[in-house]
């Protein structure tokens, strides 16, 4: 079975992003499933950036290391990734003599570690030194004169060198691709797809690919790896898309009937809103158009002055009748704390899509984490439940985005939808989403509302019918209030209203099906249970497969809803296992603490990662084995640059 890792690195803002995107498409055209993890700094240009692309037949859901092929487009990439190399390193022969100390953009800590290792191996602090070291390690080294190939490309394309300087990425990429036998036509098709319509860009890059392939054939005809066969998804009639987590959430929101999105730009959330801006004006299906006598729909996307405004504006939109949402990351959620409570007390449906990045504070803004779980559950003051869900991959994210909109309206509550940077920025292939099972449920809406309207009527299930502002006279207040939404401090009414607000969540807990809350993957009778959430899913599913190959039978309990929490089920699964290992992307093991809060169950072994990088399959497998061997309580992961 093909399970390949392809890594490509270079300076930010220099085309590395495009190279990764093209590579993903090429592997898809070759018939594979792909998962592309992006790493970059909080910087516009110049710092190091890279793509880790996982290529598999059945399912690609997590990054892995070592990489079968590392393509290093500059010297910094060589110094940064030489330890990632599994088999091949493609590098630029033009930088061989580059000394590590001359690279200003590189972290001094990494430099120090690299130098130490080079010293220990008695090689110089240059790219050449690294190459020597890798040679010793038996790696296969593929030096390419990038500049000269670029020159050839420019000549062939009949354009100036400067104008196509970014094609250097394509050349590096193409050499890497050629080594594993992805046909040049596939790569060229991928280039066309990615640069769709931009003929001026496509042409030189297509030529660059050819130049690179020609060069590779001529020079390394012999050293290429076992060529990967066509994958199972080649030329099927099931169309596939390649999307980031940001994209796919935006798509879900559009499908789910979002009509107002507010946002303040922040990494790694902003791309979702930018995607929505693209579809502010979107087409309806022919059937819907027919029935409604309308051709198009529209989403008002507002860039606000800050996140406080973003959530308050979304709340206003919600009261007036639109499905509304906002999208942010940790710092934004912190600023939304007060408005969250406001939505809570006035029972305004609103969705907050929260992309987690490295915290606390500004932290590591372009890096991954799962450290905002406490925030999602408890941000704001007072007795303030909400619905909190977390998606484990791109498909979940799409459907969860729709469900979040439904639940927000059905239970008249803010819904926080958690995603990680690792998902937001990861590119994954997905099959065309199936909307046939998707339902849009707006909950209780009063058709003929009396005036004034008892917006907060006491009901059995705690859910009062809604009417929108302007349908009749409706009153809201951030103060405690009576059934008509009028300020109230009477103790007896207060108890009733507070109880009503809590009752809703009991109703939600009952009504929302278990499969939306938690899933147990693998053998239900396995003695080892790995429990995780969010993007841990990808690594964990691969890990339980790999462990099985080594004779270790583990299953994976994937938590998708943290509030209301599926306490009974989770407790029963955890109590049944002989060994329970919690895996998550934060330093405090927040989910483990939350599980203890909601079930009393104390997870005895923890695997945590908080370097800002996603969990790689290999390190997770190792950590589980380590725990089984040693009984250690805690393993801290650190793989990846």
């Amino acid at each position: 079975m093909v399970d390949l890792v392809f890594e490509i690195g270079g300076p930010q803002g220099g085309g590395i992003e495009s190279a990764g995107q093209i590579a993903l498409r090429a592997f898809m055209l070759k018939g594979y499933r792909v998962y592309g993890t992006r790493e970059y700094h909080s910087n516009i240009m110049g710092k190091h950036s890279y793509f880790n692309i996982r290529v598999r037949e059945d399912r690609a859901l997590a990054p892995n290391l070592p990489a079968d092929i590392v393509v290093a487009l500059d010297a910094e990439s060589v110094f940064t990734h030489y330890n990632d190399v599994g088999e091949f390193l493609v590098y630029d022969t033009g930088v061989l003599s580059k000394d590590i100390d001359s690279i200003q953009s590189m972290s001094k800590y990494l430099k120090a570690r690299v130098k130490e290792e080079l010293d220990a191996n008695g090689v110089p602090h240059t790219v050449e030194g690294v190459i020597k070291l890798l040679e010793k390690r038996g790696k296969r080294l593929v030096g390419v004169p990038l500049r000269s190939l670029l020159k050839t490309t420019a000549e062939k394309a009949g354009v100036s060198l400067v104008s196509i300087s970014r094609a250097i990425n394509t050349i590096g990429l193409a050499v890497g691709m050629s080594l594993i036998g992805v046909e040049v036509e596939k790569l060229q098709k991928a280039i066309e797809l990615f640069f769709a319509g931009k003929q001026k860009v496509i042409k030189p890059n297509v030529i660059a690919a050819q130049v690179a392939y020609d060069y590779a054939k001529q020079n390394f005809g012999g050293i290429h790896r076992e060529v990967i066969p066509d994958g199972p998804h080649i030329n099927t009639d099931k169309p596939r898309l390649v999307v980031s987590g940001n994209d796919v959430v935006a798509m879900g929101k559009i499908a789910g009937g979002l009509r107002v999105q507010t946002y303040y730009p922040i990494t790694p959330a902003a791309d979702e809103s930018l995607y929505l801006e693209k579809f502010e004006d979107f087409p309806l299906t022919p059937e819907a158009a027919e029935k409604l006598g309308l051709e198009r729909g529209g989403i008002v996307v507002v860039q606000t002055e800050d996140e406080i405004s973003a959530l308050n504006m979304a709340i206003g939109a919600s009261l007036a009748g639109a499905r509304s949402a906002t999208s942010t990351s940790g710092p934004g959620l912190s600023l939304m704390a007060e408005a969250l409570g406001y939505a809570g007390i006035i029972e305004a449906p609103v969705v907050i899509t929260l992309y987690m990045r490295g915290g606390p504070s500004t932290g590591m803004p372009t890096r991954n984490s799962q450290s905002d779980l406490f925030a999602a559950l408890f941000q704001g003051h007072g007795d303030l439940p909400r619905i909190v869900i977390a998606s484990g991959d791109h498909e979940e994210a799409f459907y969860d985005a729709i469900k979040a909109l439904n639940w927000a309206e059905k239970y008249q509550t803010p819904v926080i939808h958690l995603l990680e940077k690792a998902i937001a920025n990861a590119m994954k292939d997905i099959f065309n989403p199936d909307l046939s099972n998707v339902v849009i449920d707006r909950g209780k809406i009063e058709k003929n509302p009396p005036k004034p309207f008892p917006r907060f009527k006491y009901t059995e299930d705690g859910i009062s019918p809604r009417a929108f502002l302007g349908d009749t006279v409706v009153w809201y207040t951030s103060n405690e209030h009576d059934q008509f939404g009028r300020r109230n401090e009477d103790p007896v009414e207060r108890i009733k209203m507070q109880d009503k607000r809590l009752k809703k969540f009991e109703t939600a807990a009952k009504e929302i099906p278990l499969e939306d809350k938690v899933t147990l993957y693998g053998d239900p009778d396995a003695k080892i249970t790995i429990v995780g959430w969010g993007a841990v899913k990808g690594a964990a599913l691969d890990a339980i497969d790999k462990l099985k190959e080594e004779g270790i039978n583990a299953n994976y309990l994937h938590i998708r809803m943290f509030m209301p929490f599926p306490s009974d089920y989770v407790k029963s699964v955890l109590e049944k296992a002989e060994t329970v290992i919690g895996v998550e992307g934060n330093a405090l093991a927040q989910a483990a603490q939350v599980i203890r809060m909601f079930t009393g169950f104390d997870i005895p072994h923890l695997v945590v990662k908080y370097t800002g990088r996603p969990i790689f399959v290999a390190e997770l497998v190792e950590s589980v084995k380590h725990i089984l061997r040693t009984g250690d309580k805690k393993v801290v992961l650190s793989l990846g640059q």
């Binding site: 498409r25 055209l29 004006d281 729909g297 529209g298 009748g321 909307l435 409706v474 951030s478 009028r486």
Partner: protein
């Protein structure tokens, strides 16, 4: 004109202090809505937090009491979703010019068609009389134990700097004149600010009824006063004239419409460049499902992500 049978004020007891300027404001607002023929269910009053922010509670129109400093974003969300509604903001000087100043400024940039009634009493009424952003430097009201050490902000100038397209000033005890100003503000298409001088007899014993009434005058009683920008080239001159008025305070205080700019497109009109049908089909009017099913042609949205 809506019939006198229709109630704009609610039965709720008004828990303001006796003599509070807010009574004048609520009456003026009621009269304005009635005269403009806006029925209670088609108007929304969005309140901040403060004595001023309680106003929606005392009205029988739609009311949204929000958070301290945040009524402008909430009002904006409402208006963009259902533009047919008349959307008002009632909020204090602390609310709009202090904690909410970032939204106050941003509102000018957006020019959404909402009307902001700024209850300018120089104090934080509801928290018992601390200095608000409009209280003068070194002024000591009776509620302060020591003179104020912050200088005041100029609301008219701030609005102008932020791009407001309608700026007026009213006085809470001049109910009829205030009513007319509020009417003009509501009729203006774009963000309108009415800075309402509102005596707070309980805490502000400096900016009192007497103090104001010795100083106020109406600009429209001056010869040739015309605050309206009809063409872009008039902007600079009109702004300068408004600024001159904005700088008056200690001796004379101008009331009335100080500035109106008709050349700047309202936000929804700007949105039309993105969503051509948005004014006919604002978010509120848009269906989102047919028989509980999504209506978007998702394949077309996915098309540039397709790899095959």
């Amino acid at each position: 004109m809506v019939s006198e049978q229709v109630k704009y004020q609610a039965d709720t007891w008004k828990d303001w202090c006796p003599g509070c300027g807010n009574y004048g404001i609520i009456t003026a607002l009621e009269m304005a809505l009635r005269e403009l023929g806006i029925p209670p269910e088609k108007a929304v009053d969005v309140g901040g937090i403060g004595c001023s922010g309680k106003l929606p509670e005392f009205l029988a129109i739609n009311g949204v009491h929000t958070l301290h400093g945040r009524p402008i974003p909430v009002a904006t969300g409402i208006k963009l979703t259902r533009p047919e509604l008349t959307v008002l903001v009632d909020a204090g000087d602390g609310d709009t010019l202090g904690i909410g100043a970032a939204h106050f400024v941003a509102a000018g940039r957006r020019n959404v068609d909402i009307t902001i009634l700024l209850h300018d009493n120089g104090v934080y009424g509801l928290t018992k009389g601390q200095a608000s952003p409009t209280l003068g430097l070194f002024i000591k009201t009776k509620a302060l134990s020591k003179p104020n050490i912050n200088a005041p902000v100029n609301p008219i100038l701030l609005a102008l700097a932020s791009g407001y397209t309608f700026i007026a000033r009213g006085y809470a005890y001049h109910v009829k004149q205030l009513k007319d100003i509020i009417k003009a503000a509501i009729q203006h298409k774009g963000t309108a600010l009415v800075d309402i001088l509102q005596p707070c007899p309980t805490y502000n014993n400096v900016y009192t009824k007497e103090w104001y009434e010795q100083r106020i005058y109406y600009v429209d009683q001056e010869e040739n006063w015309n605050p309206v920008v009809e063409k872009p080239e008039e902007l600079e001159a009109k702004m300068e004239q408004t600024i001159a008025k904005a700088l008056e305070w200690d001796e004379r205080i101008p009331l009335g419409i100080l500035f109106q700019n008709k050349t700047v497109p309202e936000y929804l009109d700007r949105l039309k460049t993105r969503i051509p049908f948005i004014t006919e089909l604002p978010p509120y009017r848009q269906p989102i499902e047919v028989d509980g099913k999504p209506i978007v042609d998702i394949a077309q949205i996915f098309v540039d992500k397709l790899v095959m």
